[in-house]
């Protein structure tokens, strides 16, 4: 049983799924932290440093770091030309999470824009990943 769980966990597709979920979670945590510490009147707030006062931002940092390790584990087994397009699912999960968890009102025009960005990413996925690999 332990061997099965271990093999399942180390599978690159599992690592990619965890990476995408954690990246989405990190964005939500960072937005919660930003919302908590927002002070548009302060000139310093553009630097984002004021966000460090929120524990949500620290959870967001943790989720981002773990997600990065999952991404590196994914790239050890899967080529970037496959991992990159699949990883783009985060562009669906984040707006959906904003709508469900943050209660953001997403107007049809914004959904159309998000859909176009996703479509564009699907079109460029392979050439962009190849280019990034070369760079």
């Amino acid at each position: 049983m332990i061997v099965f769980v271990r093999r399942w966990f180390l599978n690159p597709w599992t690592q990619l799924a965890i990476c995408v979920l954690l990246a989405t979670t990190a964005e939500i945590f960072l937005k919660l932290g930003a919302r908590q510490t927002a002070n548009p009147a302060s000139a310093w707030s553009w630097t984002g440093l004021t966000g460090l006062r929120s524990h949500w931002v620290w959870w967001g940092i943790l989720a981002s770091v773990v997600s990065l390790f999952n991404w590196l584990a994914t790239l050890r087994k899967l080529p970037l030309t496959i991992a990159f397009p699949v990883g783009n699912v985060v562009h669906i999960l984040v707006p959906l999470s904003c709508w469900i968890f943050l209660g953001e009102a997403i107007l049809p025009l914004r959904w159309c824009g998000i859909a176009l960005v996703l479509l564009g990413l699907m079109i460029v996925a392979q050439p962009a990943a190849t280019l990034e690999e070369r760079m």
Binding site: R35, L107, A115, L116, G120
Partner: protein, 114 residues
């Protein structure tokens, strides 16, 4: 959106792309048998600094905009990679990359006016 906010969005997306390229360059240097540890450390540190800039500017932007509004702009990273590839590597930008970049840009324009 103000011109300053648009500029910051461009800076943060560019920082993200630059950080990725520097991180990959650091890994390539480490993988070489005759690599200089100092050189690899410098490139790696630059990647971390650039990523940190990207992170904090993101927080500053998130304090002002909805996440569902700001997040699609990250799709522009692919457009910047295409242009960086053309300028740095003198790559010929493929038709597919050009069409995809235009579609992403149109999507970002729709989001920005929403």
């Amino acid at each position: 959106m103000t011109l300053f906010a648009a500029l910051l969005i461009f800076v943060t997306v560019s920082c993200f792309v630059a950080g990725q390229i520097l991180l990959k360059r650091a890994m390539d240097i480490i993988a070489q048998p005759t690599s200089s540890r100092l050189h690899a450390t410098l490139v790696f540190t630059s990647a971390i600094v650039v990523f940190a800039m990207n992170f904090f500017i993101n927080i500053g932007l998130l304090q002002r905009f909805d996440l569902s509004y700001f997040f699609p702009f990250q799709g522009l990273s692919v457009v910047i990679i295409a242009f960086a590839g053309a300028f740095i590597l003198h790559e010929k930008v493929s038709l597919r990359l050009t069409i995809g970049s235009i579609v992403i840009s149109l999507g970002v324009i729709l989001v920005s006016i929403s």
